[in-house]
Amino acid sequence: MRNISKSFAGVSALKNVDFSVRGGEIHALLGANGAGKSTLMKILSGAYESDEGSIEIGDASFKFVSPADSKRAGIHCVYQEVDTSLVPHLTVSENIFLDRLATSKAGAWLRWGGLHEEAQAVLKRIGLTLSPRELVRDLTLSEKQLVLVARLLAENAKFVILDEPTAPLSLEEADKLFGIMTGLKDAGIGVIFISHRLPEVFRICDRITVMRDGEHVLTEDKSKIDASGVVRAMLGRSFEEEFPKLDAKIGEPVLKVEGLEAGRRVRGVNLEVKRGEIVAIVGLVGAGKTELSRVLFGADSSERGTVSVGGKPVNLRTPSDAVQAGIALVPEERRKEGILVRESVLHNLSLPLLKTISKLGFLSGRSERAYAAEQIEGLGIKTSSVSLQTAFLSGGNQQKVAIGKWMGTEADVYLFDEPTKGVDVGAKSDIFRIIGKLAQQGKGIVYLTCEFAEALGLADRILVMCDGAIVKTFNRGEATQEDLLYYASAGREELA
């Protein structure tokens, strides 16, 4: 790929990026969130059209305008957003052979028996024990991810792209995936692998390309670079700078959770958060963090357990109960749950405050705007006007809006679920700064994340969650990434 440029709504995401892969190698594509990795790969796979630049395979030059074009050229991709590539109410078989069904290669008729058999064979290769007749909507996230990997195997690819495939996988499953990748490599296929887990990157890949802020930074053989070099290239600065931890006075307990149970994903959670304290809950994807945060916010119902805020037990049946009790949640799925993308920044920021800024039911436009201006200023939200649709903000700024709307509610407890997901580096440290400030104001912070480094840098205490239960507690400075990973994967696996 040569000179690839792409911008969204006037904001440039890729600037003159060059990138090349050889057949028979595993090439890691690294970069901070928002660096443009996925965008580059979507251009390669035809999901997006590039504004400028060209793609060459061998001597031929291509311009892919649709996914079908790039598939024809032998390029197949597992996208980062798993749900965008699966049809939930179709069977596993069909999802595996979606590409084949979508093109005219196969005949007009569908032979279900044959299809299921073939699917069964592919599933076996990746070691997934699943009925091919099952509907995809009933699968877990990791199973869905593996179904997508199975889809790759079902095709005759020359190049495959795996965009953060290991994120939802357990270590065992990831290992199996690496086996498959090696197999592909040996068959002469070029594999592009995107991941945020550096150890696995170094274990499996041959070459590494690093991107930063939409630009190509370096491409090196694995042997010529080490982890800290990669991180420096990714961030453009050293590692510690990323977590500006502010000092805060730790006071009396503000949130107390005892024996909380909800379904399979929250099992007997006990938790205490003090004023001014940042408690991180870490765990692998699928550990149940999101579910815990939703239960604590009344968004999902719990079966057992008590929650008290500021010493008073609260009954959380709906999110509005939680808000009343002084709990705020910044949810994981920003664009779906955190903000209303079609509404203006102004309306988003004032949403939880409608009662406070209205008299007799009538909204005070002045106090609404004043409040919004305050948050935009205080959080450094970059927007051309308060009435801009939030859809046109960058991810980090959207996340700031999702946080900013809770600033005026005087909540005592803030729950942050993966607030840095898909957020660029600058915004990330802004968000850490905001969280630190909240702690300084005496709020209790619960920070749920699967990025262990963040937890280590930010938290006063770290709780490790595995399979719906808190399995280990560390105080600040007690733990290393390896420790966290060890407990997060149930202490069963050794770190590579």
Binding site: A9, F297, A299, T318, P319, S320, A322, V323, Q324, L329, P331, K336, E337, G338, I339, L340, V341, R342, E343, H347, L351, P352, L354, K355, S358, G361, F362, L363, G365, K405
Partner: protein, 329 residues
Amino acid sequence: MKNRLLPFTFKYGALIFIGFVILFFSLRNEYFFTYNNITDILRSISIVTFVAIGVTISLTVDGFDLSVGSTVSLSTVITATMMVWYEMPLVVVLVVPLAVGAIVGLLNALLIVKIRIPDLLATLAVMYIVNGIHKTYTKGYSIYSNMPLSDGTTAPGVMSKEFLWIGQGKLFGVPFPVILMLLAVIAAHIFFKYTRWGRQMIMTGGNEEAARLSGLKVKRVRTLAYVASGVFAAIGGILFASRIGSGQIDAGAPMLMESVAAVFVGYSVFAAGRPNIIGTFFGAVLMGVLVNGLTMMNVQYYTNDIIKGAVLVLALAVTFIHLNRRKSG
């Protein structure tokens, strides 16, 4: 972005379009743009506008209410029977149909919000039920003053003068239904623009889950929206009875499509791309102007629909071509 004219035509395209239509008719017929004719047009759209305000409200919380037409029918015969069969005082005559409209709205809300049947399915079923009820209630007869009853006697009551004034009278030279309609449009606009509840409805419709996670009681908000939709349809039914002086069976059947058409044209006004009260009002105006103007031009009645549909397509195309260009550009 290159062409400065585009955003302008985009935002005001639909209004300019309506302006052109009015200009066209005014030039074609000297009597079109007269005070009396304009107020007549406004009066002719008053009923549809009320129903359309209700549809706008339910669409705002992202729910389609197919039952409004049947609610108009029910409310119009209830209003008439209150006077003709039961000789009730004016207050009762007005309150009962409103209450019934609210009950229909509650039924919709029960099915949609509580049992979680998708909105189109639930309101379709309610549409059948309400239609059946209004016919069963009157045994298929229209209701009019001193109508003969099945036992051979005549009904004791008449459609009262005060009641008929609501639909037929004038205040300061303006037809009273027009005043009512303008008040309702302004009130609904203020409701959505300047009140907490209105904003809550908009936000709920924008993304229910996000609104819920912001602490809104979304179920209550949606329930209220369906009730409001039912009440506005009931007002439409009352006006209907008062305007024609009797309670006709199935009177509301055409109201569903007409009000939906007005609301949809309204999507284009100010390029909102979504339900909005001012847009709905102008949508109703456009439809009313077309009917009136085409009648004056003595166009064959059967071509009216083609013109209506073409106008709808034009108005929608203007908005959505731009809206999508902006999104993907």
